[in-house]
Amino acid sequence: MTTMTAQTTQVYQLFIRATPEQVWDAITKSEFTTRYFFASKVEMSNGRRRAYGPDGELWGDSAILEEDPPRRLVHEWQGLYDPELAEEETSRVTWEIEPREGGYCKLTLVHDQLEGAPKTAESVAGGWMLVLSGLKTLLETGEPLVG
């Protein structure tokens, strides 16, 4: 997505061989996120979703808008890991987990309300892809995605 203006609503969807509870834990608990989410430690408490980098630096601190385990999580997004992104307007991330036949889940991630955050939109376009394929690999093989 380098030559085009990045989309203001981005949709990512994939199937993961795991239960909804496993997917939920993997996106909300730091012992999992450190293994696929750019090594970030995600903590959800008191209506906030916070993400910390490997050295404890604050990478994200945003409001949780909806929390319905293990099906749906909606939170705001602001990239504090980069000063240019931190200046932009807040956007929104929605995770939807749907159980499917054969022990699979359909995971849909929608990152929208990016109208006031063009740099964030461009930055996350490749990022989500790495995060989601890493999440799939971790849940299906127990190993982080290498490379």
């Binding site: 085009m4 989309q7 609503t9 949709v11 990512y12 969807q13 699979y104 995605l145 490379g147």
Partner: protein, 105 residues
């Protein structure tokens, strides 16, 4: 989920064209997509359905409209599974060749 469906979906110029249109601008209605193709509404619907089954297009409802989004994840997974594997070997073969030539040269 199924590589066969992704390859099959990509093996058609109209469907690749639809993906390119969505890559340029996402979240389009059937009517919008149809207006850019010389094809019946039914034909476009049929192609979109194949793309949707393969997971390359995801639809979301917004009010009364059904919007179509490009989902890049299956292409990424195919890339990880097929492209990386072969290009990695080619790159390492070139590196081996370079090393060998430099050592003997």
């Amino acid at each position: 989920m199924d590589d066969d469906q992704v390859f099959k979906a990509l093996a058609d110029p109209t469907r690749r064209h639809l993906l390119d249109r969505l890559f340029e601008r996402d979240g389009r209605t059937l009517t919008e997509l149809e207006s850019e193709l010389e094809m019946t509404r039914f034909g476009v619907m049929k192609h979109l359905r194949i793309l949707e089954v393969a997971g390359l297009v995801v639809t979301r409802r917004q009010g009364r409209e059904k919007l179509h989004y490009l989902n890049p994840v299956p292409i990424r997974l195919i890339h990880d599974r097929w492209i990386d594997k072969y290009t990695e070997r080619r790159v390492s073969a070139l590196l081996d060749l370079k090393k060998e030539l430099e050592e003997t040269g």
